[in-house]
Symmetry: C2
Subunit: 208 residues, 2 copies
Amino acid sequence: MEYYIPDVTIRRLPAYLRLLGELEDEHAEIVSSAEMSRRTGFSSEQIRKDLAYFGAFGTRGVGYRVDFLQERLRKILGLDGLVAAALVGAGKLGQSLARYVQSQHRSIRISHIFDIDEDLVGQTLAGVTIMHTREMEETVAESGVRLAVVAVPAPEAQEVVDSLARAGVRAILNFAPVFLKPPQGVVMKSVDLSSEMRSLVYYARKCR
Amino acid sequence: MEYYIPDVTIRRLPAYLRLLGELEDEHAEIVSSAEMSRRTGFSSEQIRKDLAYFGAFGTRGVGYRVDFLQERLRKILGLDGLVAAALVGAGKLGQSLARYVQSQHRSIRISHIFDIDEDLVGQTLAGVTIMHTREMEETVAESGVRLAVVAVPAPEAQEVVDSLARAGVRAILNFAPVFLKPPQGVVMKSVDLSSEMRSLVYYARKCR
DNA sequence: CACTGTGAATAAATTCACAGCC
DNA sequence: GGCTGTGAATTTATTCACAGTG
């Protein structure tokens, strides 16, 4: 058991969890780090090292029990119970995200949706009634939600993020294509398809 | 000018380009690495080092010319002309992606869309007529497209990626939540919202 | 003088290599 | 014998610190 675990390790855990799901479907009971390496593309040493941060989960000479490792990783990530998440922005992207999260994640639930557009307020999206953004800070603070997805236009994003931080949110997945100052104590991950596409153009054009 | 440029550097270039766009809108003519650092969150040394891989673009004691640096970065990334990209998978996600790319990127154009569903073939999406996936390999090879976006169900993704590689595609943005073996000579970047969300749950729950 | 460009120093991440154990 | 867990070695990335220059 370690104190500080590097972010690169945390970001690989969901991949391991996905693999364990596949292995479970195949009724595999035991898996070695070599097999996990073959299937994920990560090196076996890296996988062993990542897992060892949290304890000794495997059996020397044998491997890792699929069900046990799955359970431990779920617990480590906080996916063993039900996690509530707020969604801010119910435009086209927000709507897609709401439906996607609700359908794909057994343990993550969109509990609140906020938008600044009065026409959207009161409508239902993915089983949740859209509220006005002005109610966000108080509502989120009261409900104790710690995770949020931001899908608002770029100019509004910083304000939304700051407000979410004041409401007690600890982690934010941001889709606004803008540079945001992460508030103190908040972990933020931005997803920007434009940037991903653009960096790939570099490789697409490179002659080899 | 360097031979090999690390991927971390390439992936930061689109962020610099975005900032330069903002600066252009503000009619800034010159920008220093310190100012760029303040606005992007990357350290100024890192920015200078990244840019210096490609040559000496700045003026000592002054800074970088916004328009010149923008032009150079566009050129380096390959965004100075028009880049064609193929989209495979015209389901819900594919449709959103097609519209998004066509509307957001001046220099990236979706030139071909493929799907395996006969009902979709012949329909128009974002100004492009959907073709059947069976025509993909030949069509892509003939057209010389080097960049592709894959938005097909997980079980089909590896086959699609391999086929694209044979057709000469060099860079792929993959949305299928599955482990893929990158074919020889192809740079692949996978976007998986589930994994992003799940790793954030870890931080949302952590007490600090 | 202010800011770039860059070697040198440091920190972080990965890989090696093997002891320890089932 | 085979595979985990882990220090040591290596590689990669970042930061420092300053010489060079308009």
